[in-house]
């Protein structure tokens, strides 16, 4: 129970098409994250699943049943709002109990369920307080508690952590992951923060201007982005894009000319790309100082030292975006001093003129190694 299917969902506000034909299968018990820039239609999509917004066309199917015209409660869905949406005049207990009171559940069962939820969320000591007296993290937990007591099959979260400060966000991320394991319910989580997406999701859905750009597990999106949008959106700082020209296609990969160097990138070739202009994508964390397979000279204009890593930004001729590199630890690179850097062809991504990726030949299974058992 808790299987959700979206079929060609479209949402129009007047003449503006906000969600454009979204199809998606969400498995039972899965933690799905919708991620995308602000205004790409994440909330709208979520609100349609919730039953707060009417669908212009398409089907929403939960456990084999079309629910487009059902009220939210009938869908077995609970939602946690970005702004908490707590009832300010009610105590924490009454806030959490609200859905049960609506159902006219017996008092004893209300007390039992609310107390169980409060225990899971560490709110036992706060049940008599009003929301106004709680901190942001506690308020968010009350909002989650209100969702839990109804024992829904599907939880919806709309940017639940974006109002919290960074430290609290990290804590709540872990709590939510734990909660997901504990409840085993399907969760659909909307965020614009790719760290939340990468850390919590079983699968990430990247939305871009009302379309699904790519769906996949976090590491697949990181290693095999299907287009330049996903490549740029997943990973921080964003992937560098360098203009190259295709010179040949072999079984081993695609040969490109990069600043006079011929590189063999291990990606699947395609007919008719020889001679065309491609984009070579390389992540900042894959760049090293000194010689290597592909070499270039840059002059950093800004250097950020975070202790854990050093980030340099350099302007490239003919490009708006800064070239960015991330080096581990504190490295002695200086502003305004030319620097030779290199990267290996195995780390490169290639995109055609339309922004579609040429598939990389990476073995994802090998990248997620089984846990190593360390004998005590």
């Amino acid at each position: 129970m808790g299987q959700l299917t979206l079929k060609d969902i479209v949402k129009r506000f007047g003449a503006i098409e906000v969600v454009k034909s979204v199809s998606l299968d969400v498995n039972e018990g899965e933690f799905i994250v919708f991620v995308g820039p602000s205004g790409c239609g994440k909330s709208t999509l979520l609100r349609m699943i919730a039953g707060l917004e009417h669908t212009t066309s398409g089907d929403i199917v939960i456990d084999g049943k079309r629910v487009n015209d059902l009220a939210p409660v009938k869908r077995g869905i609970a939602m946690v709002f970005q702004s908490y949406a707590l009832y300010p005049h009610m105590s924490v207990f009454e806030n959490i109990a609200f859905p049960l009171r609506v159902e006219k559940a017996p008092e004893a069962s209300i007390r039992e369920k609310v107390e169980a939820a409060a225990k899971i969320l560490h709110l036992d000591q706060r049940l008599e307080q009003k929301p106004g007296m709680l901190s942001g993290g506690q308020r968010q937990r009350v909002a989650i508690g209100r969702a839990i007591v109804r024992e829904p099959e599907i939880f919806l979260f709309d940017e639940p952590l974006s109002n919290l400060d960074a430290a609290l966000r990290a804590d709540m991320r872990i709590e939510l992951t734990r909660l997901h394991k504990q409840l085993g319910a399907t969760m659909i989580y909307v965020t614009h923060d790719q760290v939340e997406a990468m850390t919590m999701a079983d699968r990430i859905v990247v939305l871009h201007a009302g379309y699904i750009s790519q769906v996949g597990p976090p590491l697949e999106l990181y290693h095999k982005p299907q287009n330049t949008f996903v490549a740029g959106f997943i990973g921080n700082p964003r992937m560098n894009m360098l203009p190259v020209t295709c010179t040949g296609v072999t079984d081993q990969g695609v040969e490109v000319d990069f600043n006079g160097q011929t590189l063999l990138i291990p990606v699947a070739g395609r007919d008719g790309i020889v001679g065309s202009a491609l984009s070579l994508g390389i992540r900042p964390e894959h760049i090293e100082i000194g010689p290597g397979e592909a070499v270039m000279t840059i002059t950093p204009t800004v250097v950020e030292r975070l202790g854990q890593q050093t980030i340099g930004y350099a302007a490239l001729d003919g490009q708006d975006e800064n070239f960015c590199l991330v080096l581990p630890g504190s490295r002695g690179i200086a502003e305004e001093q030319p620097l030779q850097v290199s990267f290996s062809t195995a780390d490169c991504h290639l995109f055609d003129a339309g922004g579609q990726a040429l598939e990389r030949q990476v073995d994802l299974a090998a990248m997620s190694l089984p846990p190593v058992a360390v004998p005590a």
């Binding site: 039953g51 409660v73 939602m79 970005q82 949406a85 707590l86 609200f98 106004g132």
Partner: protein, 290 residues
């Protein structure tokens, strides 16, 4: 200087001594203009009638007493009844206004429907006319409905003219209640009516009390015109008309008139004093992240 601030006072609230004197002088002038009629009225109520017309006029009462506050009940025996009438008319008008305005304001705040702007503008336009302008059509209306010389003659027009302002006031208040609260309740299966009763009404309580106070005061002070035109029965007369009784054939009993005025507004003052204790500010604190 130390009188008005200590080391804990934030910098933005610190003033020079002459600024403080200026501020208090300003407050005093303002209050004096507002309150001087009341002060003079109160002083008059303490003076014996003979002293009121003495020359030179003395502002402060000599051998002043509260005698007028006792004799006023004898000069106009029906005065208690007038106070009761005023209170009754205002209370019923307030109840009617609240019953109509609370749901209306909620609808105007939450739902958008065709012609809403027009209706709201019309309400505003209606409140631009004072009742006095519409006396003749109102009189015919009252006569047709058979309400002349009843309490309703004063209650209905009083309430009608108070509704527009009340709707605007409460609508503004209710618009500040986050829409997410409705959505959250809806997600949890609550009906519109359940949400209205359990979520919106309690949160809007301070706003409703403000509207109740404003309406009550409005009703209390607006009765004069309607009472004078639509009612000729002495036993239904409200306070403002009742005060006329102190205007005798030969002379006006000024000191008792003033005393009666103060006694007349006392019940309203007491009621408002109690109501304002329920004016809890910041009731939406913690509802949503602002």
């Amino acid at each position: 200087m130390a009188l008005f601030r200590n080391d804990d006072t934030p910098m933005i609230d610190r003033y020079r001594w002459w600024e403080i004197i200026g501020i208090y002088a300003g407050i005093f002038v303002f209050l004096f203009f507002m309150l001087s009629p009341f002060i003079e009225g109160f002083l008059v109520s303490l003076k014996p009638l003979s002293q009121l017309f003495s020359t030179p006029y003395s502002f402060w009462p000599e051998n002043g007493s509260f005698k007028a506050y006792f004799t006023m009940w004898e000069s106009v025996p029906g005065f208690a009844r007038y106070i009761f009438n005023s209170f009754l008319i205002s209370t019923i008008a307030t109840v009617i206004v609240l019953l109509l305005v609370v749901p209306a304001a909620y609808a105007f705040a939450r739902f958008s429907f065709r012609g809403m702007g027009l209706v709201l503008a019309a309400f505003l336009a209606v409140s631009m006319f004072s009742g006095a302008v519409l006396l003749i059509p109102l009189f015919r209306l009252m006569r047709t409905l058979g309400m002349l010389n009843t309490y309703w003659a004063m209650i209905v027009p009083g309430a009608a003219f108070l509704i527009p302002a009340a709707i605007w006031l409460l609508r503004t208040y209710m618009m500040r209640i986050p829409k997410e609260l409705n959505e959250a309740a809806y997600m949890d299966g609550a009906s519109q009516f359940y949400t209205f009763r359990r979520v919106i009404l309690p949160i809007a309580r301070p706003g409703i009390i403000v509207v109740a106070i404003m309406t009550f005061i409005g009703a209390y002070s607006q009765q004069f015109v309607f009472a004078l035109t639509f009612n000729s029965k002495t036993e239904y007369m409200p306070l403002p008309i009742g005060l006329f009784a102190y205007f005798g054939k030969q002379e006006v009993i000024w000191n008792e008139l003033m005393a009666a005025s103060f006694v007349g507004i006392a019940p309203a003052l007491i009621l408002i004093f109690f109501l304002q204790r329920y004016l809890v500010g910041g009731l939406t604190a913690g509802a949503v992240k602002q």
